[in-house]
Amino acid sequence: MDSVVQVLISGLSQGSIYALIGLGFSVAFMASRILNLAQGSYAVLGGFVFLTMVSSYRLPMPVAFVIALLVAAGLGIATERIVNLRTRPWKPVSLDMAILSTLALLVLFEGAAFLLWGSDPKRGPSIQNGVVSIFGALVSWQSIWTMASAAVIAIGLHVFLKKTWVGRAMRSCAQNAMMSHLLGINVRRIGAFAFALGATIGATAGILVSPITWLDYQLGGFFMLNGILAYLIGGEEDVAGPIVGGLLLGLVQNIFLLIPGATGGLLKQVVPMLILILMLVFRPQGLLQQRRA
């Protein structure tokens, strides 16, 4: 029984990370209708910056955290600028161009990470070391902090989007960029803000997860894939979608570890993709969204 609980908790912990990355996607997509394939890179770079600040420069963790977030925000804004290099508010970037330019940036970020930090996986410091026993399963405090942070960020984002002016402006930009522009909303600035916000959420995920899973320069693509999956499974329902999708994804991936032997671990890689295709066929709007007319 406790192995089931163990697997469940691993799943939720991993799922929280996917959920955070998916949230980053959601935020950027919400304001710009661009799927930012470089989203996973912010986690990697943010995490690397954080651990370098702490280990090489001996900065206290909160300071290093802020610096990492600032760097991520800068990268997010740079991404938005580059993707929209040749567009106008009335002539938004085409889907293909957006996909390709964010893909190019993904490679660029990966290359920068390789140059700056080399090929070895690295880990950063935990918020709190040690483990605790829950229902017979061993859970590291870092995992608990991760899940808690994901919940807090999700709630905060939800409130932000519903209650603040900027949040509402973001959603209007997504629905009708031209109209928002005519209404006086600076669409570009909102877009840049959304990208920056998405990047900082991604960076937070990277910082939280690096003590558990290590970070290496190639993880950008891995995070991106799982983040997209989380986002698609959950649906476009702003905040709840990626959260539900991410947690489900984490659970599904870890459930297979209950199957003894090598098969379980191997199914873990194939099944999420099958789920994605099934979702695209039968429920492309995701689990939470109502079917649109």
Binding site: I82, I99, A104, L108, E110, G111, L225, L267
Partner: protein
């Protein structure tokens, strides 16, 4: 048209093939002797060229960006590897097996993904690619997994094993050149035009007669076969396969090859693949900075050379063209419309009975019935939101109807797809002009004349091979389109992009495109909006000329005077219902019409 004339046309149309290949051969020979180009790069360039030919056909022509072709590539490679290792089956046979597997898989994947919108299509195909990679790694008892699978023999031709780079290279380049010819011909033929029409505007394409679903599926399957062949040759060349050769990094390489060369040009793929295969040799000593360099290169390519090298070359050539004649002369010359056949029924051509269409709770079209008679021009007017365009969409099959029926020449056509209705003889224009942005002006009209393409494999084969029958109809289509352009004083703009022609003229080109399809019924949706006064006069003359030649026309307009002057019969819609029907004189005095437009 003599056979010589047809061959001459074919050579001139496929000129790029005859120019690019020799230049490439000469340049690569020079580089080879200088020691900068190695034989393995030459061989692998051909292998990937084959893959990109398929990918460019799929994206450059049909506009479908697939992230999953690495999967087809991998299956082609692993079929050869596994069959050779486990069953000692020779390379040729296993290549065929691999292709069959990929045909089935691409059909299934196509059924699932082709109806998805842009980004979902990419994600669905990406999922496929990842699944293939994961399956290869996972099923290691069969595929060797991370241990790789070796012992793949080279093929034998006439008892001689193709073990050297030279001999295998001849095989690969032979395949590549043949496929290059076929793909290039296809992209320049009516199938290519139909594909680009789909890429530009799927709805307009199907209204012209393109069987969108079928064409997309067939192109998808064919591109998968190309990737499969490439994969099999790849496996044979390396002698072994390993999952790391079929990862997302390879996908990135494929995309770069296509975009750097110039998507849509087909021959650009040759440059793109050679450059990407050569790149590691150029960046050889960068070691750590290599990935960053690739990323920067990719970014630069996307922004500086968005259409790749081939696109940049075309842009350069544009500058050397003669400047075109100024527009502004009033049109129009004689309208070169010929009715293909007289209407099958005398009297009523089109009968609408009780048509209805709901959107959620709103009844956009509510029980509308009227008849359109031969030799008459019928107008359709009403306030904004009355349901006129929706009604037109119902007739043309762009939207399915909820109730009622539509009878053309006595036959029921409601429920047919838009392209089938087009082939029945109904053509239309759109409220917001929908010319095909990926085709030139003359090609737009040619697509009309050719009625798109039926998307069948037979048609694709005929066009790819460049058979005389296909070429003759293409030449005829070009001539007919030329006549239309002459009548619009646009002959100089035949090869121009549609953006070079002002809005008003573009709408007239759209009409010409519809007429070139020789319909028996033409639906015009607010064509006059945006035309200036002289253009409107010219347009009226065109419509009258068409009517005199036997074409039946239904026209939606807001300009009441225009409609009153032009039409023989008018229907008036309001809130989805028909409130009046009759001659212009009758409509003018109808009280319900006045109330609808002016209030009481």
């Amino acid at each position: 048209m003599t056979l010589l004339g047809v061959v001459n046309y074919l050579v001139r149309r496929n000129a790029a093939f005859f120019i690019v290949l020799p230049v490439y051969a000469v340049v690569s020979s020079v580089l080879y002797w200088a020691g900068w180009l190695h034989s393995d790069v030459i061989v692998t360039s051909a292998i990937f060229f084959i893959v990109i030919l398929g990918l460019d056909l799929l994206y450059g022509c049909a506009g479908l960006l697939s992230f999953g072709h690495v999967g087809f590539f991998a299956i082609g490679a692993y079929s050869v590897a596994v069959l050779a290792a486990q069953f000692a089956i020779g390379p040729f046979e296993s290549t065929v097996v691999g292709m069959l597997i990929n045909v089935v898989l691409s059909y299934v994947l196509g059924r699932v993904c082709l109806r998805l919108s842009g980004s979902y299509f990419m994600l669905g195909t990406l999922a496929f690619g990842i699944m293939v990679h994961a399956t290869i790694t996972v099923a290691y008892t069969v595929t060797g997994g991370d241990g790789g699978l070796g012992g793949i023999p080279r093929p034998q031709i006439g008892g001689v094993a193709l073990t050297s780079d030279l001999s295998f290279g001849i095989l690969v380049w032979g395949c590549a050149i043949i496929l290059f010819w076929l793909t290039y011909s296809l992209s320049k033929s009516k199938v290519g035009r139909a594909a680009r029409a789909i890429r530009s505007d799927e709805v307009a394409a199907s209204c012209l007669g393109v069987d969108v679903g079928r064409l997309k599926m067939n192109i998808f399957i064919i591109s998968a076969c190309f990737a499969s062949l490439g994969g099999s040759l790849f496996a044979m060349y390396n002698g072994a396969v390993h999952p790391d050769s079929f990862s997302l990094a390879t996908l990135l390489d494929l995309l770069l090859m296509m975009f750097f060369g110039g998507e849509g040009t087909i021959w650009g793929a040759l440059l793109g693949t050679t450059f990407m295969r050569l790149l590691p040799d150029i960046t050889g000593n960068l070691h750590g900075g290599k990935i960053l360099f690739t990323g920067i290169l990719f970014t630069v390519i996307i922004f500086v050379l968005p259409r790749g090298i081939a696109g940049a070359i075309y842009d350069l050539l544009e500058r050397f063209k003669k400047p075109r004649a100024d527009l502004g002369k009033t049109l129009v010359g004689d309208v070169p419309f010929t009715l293909e056949r007289p209407a099958a029924t005398a009297g009523v051509l089109l009968r609408l009975e009780g048509l209805s269409r709901n959107f959620g709770g709103v009844r956009a079209v509510d029980d509308v019935s009227f008849n359109v008679r031969n030799g008459k021009i019928r107008g359709l007017i009403g306030p904004n939101g009355a349901g006129k365009s929706t009604l037109m969409n119902l007739i043309s099959g762009t939207l399915p109807l909820n109730e009622g029926c539509v009878k053309l020449e006595g036959r029921n056509i409601e429920g047919l797809g838009a392209h089938e209705i087009a082939r029945q003889g109904i053509q239309r224009t759109f409220q917001h002009e929908r010319l095909f942005s990926h085709l030139t002006i003359i090609e737009n009209i040619m697509v009309g004349h050719e009625r798109g393409a039926d998307g069948s494999l037979r048609e694709m084969a005929v066009c790819a091979l460049g058979l005389p029958s296909a070429l003759k109809s293409e030449i005829a289509a070009r001539q007919e389109a030329g006549k239309w352009l002459a009548s619009l004083a646009l002959s100089d703009y035949a090869d121009a992009a549609i953006g070079k022609v002002p809005h008003g003229l573009r709408k007239l080109v759209e009409v010409a495109r519809a007429c070139a399809a020789r319909p028996i019924l033409l639906l015009l949706d607010e064509t006059v909006a945006g035309l200036n006064d002289s253009e409107r006069v010219a347009f009226k003359n065109v419509i009258r000329a068409l009517r005199d030649k036997g074409l039946v026309i239904v026209i939606i307009e807001h300009d009441i005077d225009f409609i009153m002057d032009l039409c023989d019969e008018i229907s008036v819609l309001n809130f989805g219902r028909k409130i009046a029907d009759g001659t212009p004189a009758e409509i003018r005095v109808d009280s319900q019409v006045k109330e609808a437009y002016l209030g009481t």
